[in-house]
Assembly symmetry: D2
Homo-oligomer: 228 residues x 4
């Protein structure tokens, strides 16, 4: 029991925060010690000093709340897992500063599968040097931006190896959670690497898997690929 | 034996003509009675009057040769299977005229699979009315035009049902013979209809399957979907 | 307003019943007039006589409750949409009897996509007569039965056309909601027909789409394919 | 010109030998110096002493011819690329002996894509430890053995990492040249790694790519993964 990881979950009433909360309750490696929400929220406390009781802080909220909580993580020397998106350069600079004193994992995509692919694609692209490469991604009709951030990252990783631009195609149909396929083709053969997301729960699950790795690390700014 | 279909194959030294010739030799329903090539070709005869000996003329050549041979088909009242591409409007008008007197099958794509899909897609699009639709096609790097003619035909068939434009994505990689995938998506579910061509032989095979149907037909201008 | 379809939803606290309830609230064609649950349930009423106020009864419950409610549907002459599984032969016989007096839609799979595929597969198999056919289905690791009922239905529909047994392959991995792929292959070409379910919501959505069709029908026992 | 690699091609009239010959003629890095066929073949010479004029011997023949030519490769100290299948244990032992004196590349599958996948799959399986894994392969109807040797190798590589047996499914349809798909699945996400062979030419192409690597190596028995 004493070996359970004590979690502080910020934004516990939000979509991601509550998903992490639910998964953590079902995982015997974790104990949910603290759940934070904005001041006045009926559900849970809002005093960030409570994170003193936790081993690590998981944060999927807004940029301002994230930076606010970063100060408490520094104050109590707690590692921090940050999935918040939309941080500006000044805020990211604050993360970098803080990471000299505490371990911080920062990523807009905590999917284990996607991050494992990020880690193998550069090596694969090198081995398949000279092959043609294109990317197809499929997301829900309502998704406005195209290509997806994940597709752009794949294209960038391959481009850094091949020196060529990688054509990327975006389908926007139905309520698809997110498919990405990278096609490598040469004479007479093709290799296709696909990732299919079925539901947003995978991002919560990824955050917890990565939390277990982060708490063993020295201070530093980490990405999921550092642990996979 | 007397029931074998006697073929006249035009352009017998060409890529398609020789493929048809080879397949016909291996098919007990056919007898290759005549093979035509341009005047002076060492391989085979060039006197188009020979088609009198055949039951049907199969033509995958150039537009001029095709129209020249059309006159012989008319003269000897022989059905004609035409896979020649690039005919201009005047030449197509000649086909239409001729089809009042002889049965003519005219199509730039004799693949059975593609034509079967052409035949079912309008009905499917009607049943899936309201679903989002997009098309992805993959062809060899060297293919200049995009989207493929086949993808355009699919998009047009669906568009006629839904009244919406169908986004089409073209990948040009390796030496892919030709893949087409139509994705229909609604809330929580997707239907994907794919066709994969492995080699050009399928077009020769399709021409022979369709030849067996054409020779039983009255005069008229036919497409493969009329027989599938 | 007067034209809205008044729904009675049975099993409104269950997984399917509540999904239908939520979707119906968001659909301006429907009004949720009655929600039934078993006696004593705090959420909603349990007096099945209430269905008199509705235009149609939607039932995704247990076999006994279904047959019990069937009697009320008969009493008040209301059409009934039944997605309950596990009915025995005697119970199905009761449905058939009742369907002489009221329209009944009965199906274990209300997915629009799957049922549309059920409706086109026999025709497609006929057009692709002589092609080899195999089926691959993918479901969550925990799913015990294999092949899936849907895969068996596809195999049966194709087998009735071709007279051949259709090999079926079952993958059981992760928490996949349900993929089915039918591969047709001939010389040089392949056609693949795939359905991907992303979440169970599609079954609730399908039930509502089909309800709109059922209420216009004369008495009879219907399957989704009758409406697609 | 002096820097071209001089090839001796054994079995030059065979399916693989002639494909290699054709590809080598079109590749400015190679010069076809010697082509061998069995004694009396009208096309080319049969005196294996000719390999003295070449830099490397490429052999896709029968086991007996392969061992016979191995002795000439030893006599003239020439590296040897061997794609011959069906060697028995005694013959493989002879290869191992010879590889102490000359560099030998020996593999039944010279596809670059397949061998690159062989090289990355163990690392990927390690990163995706705990995910469910299954394999699906598709080959021509006429292929008797199942699963394919390539599928078995994939299953073995993954099994060595996970300690679990990997279910493998074999489809036998049409004249498919060879597709392999490895599915990894976890909660909410899936990764699929596919290889599609379009035609046998890819094995000839792979042999030439690997030949360029082999001639720079010291004596030893190599597999393609050693070079990719």
């Amino acid at each position: 029991m004493g070996n359970k990881i004590k979690l502080a979950i910020s934004g516990g009433a939000g979509r991601m925060g509550s998903a992490i909360w639910n998964l953590a309750l079902a995982d015997s490696d974790f104990e949910v010690a603290v759940v934070l929400e904005r001041s006045g929220h009926p559900l849970v406390g809002s005093d960030a000093n409570q994170i003193e009781k936790a081993d690590v802080l998981i944060e999927f909220t807004a940029p301002e709340a994230t930076i606010d909580h970063l100060n408490y993580a520094l104050k109590y020397q707690k590692p921090m897992v940050i999935g918040t998106t939309g941080l500006n350069e000044a805020q990211i600079k604050l993360l970098k500063e803080a990471s000299k004193k505490i371990p911080i994992l920062f990523s807009p995509n905590m999917s284990i599968g996607i991050n494992v692919l990020f880690s193998i694609i550069p090596g694969l692209a090198k081995k398949l040097s000279g092959w043609d490469v294109e990317i197809v991604e499929v997301h829900r009709k309502a998704k406005k931006d195209a290509p997806s951030g994940t597709a752009k990252k794949f294209a960038q990783l391959i481009s850094q190896v091949s020196g060529k631009e990688i054509p990327t195609h975006s389908l926007r149909v139905g309520d698809v959670a997110g498919d990405h396929t990278i096609t490598f083709a040469s004479e007479g053969e093709r290799i296709e690497i696909s990732h299919r997301a079925q539901s947003p729960i995978l991002f919560a699950k990824g955050a917890l898997v990565l939390t277990k790795k982060l708490i063993k690390m020295p201070p530093g700014l980490y990405e999921p690929v550092n642990f996979l």
